[in-house]
């Protein structure tokens, strides 16, 4: 057999230890492996490259290991029971009320007594009295035969004199 071709050397280098153990004796890989074991030149080429790759792995592993301590251990995001968005909206509204209501109560209590007296003076009668007066007024209006805004229509004679009065005012 001639020396190993680049392809055969690549086959040997790319093969994993398990593949090299499990290869059949008649396979291309087995023939290449046998040749590398017997031929000093090809064996040296193969061993040199294989050892360099092993060194590369060793150094890369060591280098990454030295820097590994900087990487914080990953922790899964804590995701227990999650409330629906409606819950958060309601909670926010409740929190807002809890702030606003006591504040408003405090503001009312801190209002000066004079202001309260003024309010009392403006409305001396109870609310029920004013309502009754309003209702009486409405009833009175309804009971009138002609509403006051339509008085002019109800008395045509009176209305005839009005345009002349207006005309006089215009001439003046």
């Amino acid at each position: 057999m001639n020396h190993l071709t680049d392809q055969q050397l690549n086959d040997l280098l790319a093969a994993s230890p398990r593949e090299l153990q499990q290869m059949s004796d008649a396979s291309e890989l087995a023939l290449a492996s046998t040749h590398a074991a017997q031929c000093e030149q090809c064996g040296a080429r193969f061993a040199s490259m294989r050892d360099s790759l092993a060194l590369f792995r060793e150094a890369a592993t060591s280098y990454a290991g030295e820097r590994q301590h900087r990487v914080p251990a990953w922790q899964p995001p804590v995701r227990g029971f999650s409330f629906p968005p409606v819950f958060w909206t309601a909670a926010a509204a409740a929190a807002l009320l809890a702030i606003v209501l006591p504040l408003q109560m405090v503001l009312r209590q801190s209002q000066p007594p004079a202001a309260q007296q003024t309010v009392a003076a403006v409305s001396p009668h109870p609310a029920s009295d004013s309502d009754q007066a309003l209702l009486d007024g409405v009833s009175r209006e309804l009971s009138e035969s002609v509403p006051s805004p339509l008085d002019a229509l109800a008395d045509p004679s009176g209305s005839a004199s009005q345009p002349s009065q207006i005309a006089n005012q215009r001439t003046n």
């Binding site: 392809q7 690549n10 490259m49 360099s52 060793e58 900087r70 914080p72």
Partner: protein, 200 residues
């Protein structure tokens, strides 16, 4: 006709059932402890930027956790994690911003730094020096490969994944993986031989 003893589930019920079903990733603490170094190492070697590797390592496990119910166990957990990391790294390197910051980043990984990390036990000073030169040479050569060749090379020779596993992680056919791997080996071997000639 559906037999009476078979319960038909609506898509919503199926989805809920999938979320309730236990997954191999439920014990996330063990998964992180076991595979975080590996994911970080792969991302660090791929991106050559420590900050980006740290960020994407965290992102990989967050994505895995969020998608744990879709893990169908058609590949191993590390292969699945590497697949997520690969996708994140690819998306990251596609941005122009990454290319800009790669040039100026203070956290960029230098070949000499990696070579210097080689433990010097059981080696003479001369052998350690030669070994460090070889490592720096491989690191630089891998950095010049295409993203796909570089990823496949790292998965094979740094993560020691077999070709079918790499195919599962990258989503590429076996032949394509082999083709990219062999081109990467050719490039690294050519550089290695040049270095040997210079030394002799």
């Amino acid at each position: 006709m559906v037999p009476n003893n078979i319960q038909m589930l609506s898509p919503t019920e199926l989805s809920l059932e999938a979320q309730v079903r236990p997954t191999p990733l439920d014990d996330i603490d063990s998964i992180v402890a076991m595979y975080q170094p590996r994911v970080f190492r792969f991302l660090l070697a791929s991106l050559r930027d420590q900050d980006a590797a740290e960020t994407l390592t965290q992102e990989t496990f967050l994505r895995a956790w969020n998608a744990r119910h879709s893990f169908r166990e058609d590949c191993s957990i590390p292969t699945w994690l590497i697949r997520i990391a690969l996708n994140l790294a690819r998306d990251h390197t596609r941005t122009g911003r990454f290319r800009f910051w790669k040039r100026v980043a203070s956290t960029a990984v230098e070949a000499s730094d990696v070579a210097a990390s080689l433990p010097s036990y059981e080696r003479s000073a001369e052998k350690t020096l030669i070994a460090r030169q070889q490592i720096a040479s491989i690191w630089e050569t891998v950095g010049k490969l295409s993203n796909r060749q570089s990823s496949i090379f790292l998965l094979r020779f740094m993560e020691e994944m077999e070709i079918p596993e790499i195919a599962a992680a990258t989503g590429l056919p076996l032949g394509t993986v082999k083709s990219h791997l062999y081109r990467a080996i050719d490039a690294v071997r050519a550089q290695h031989q040049d270095a040997l000639k210079e030394r002799s």
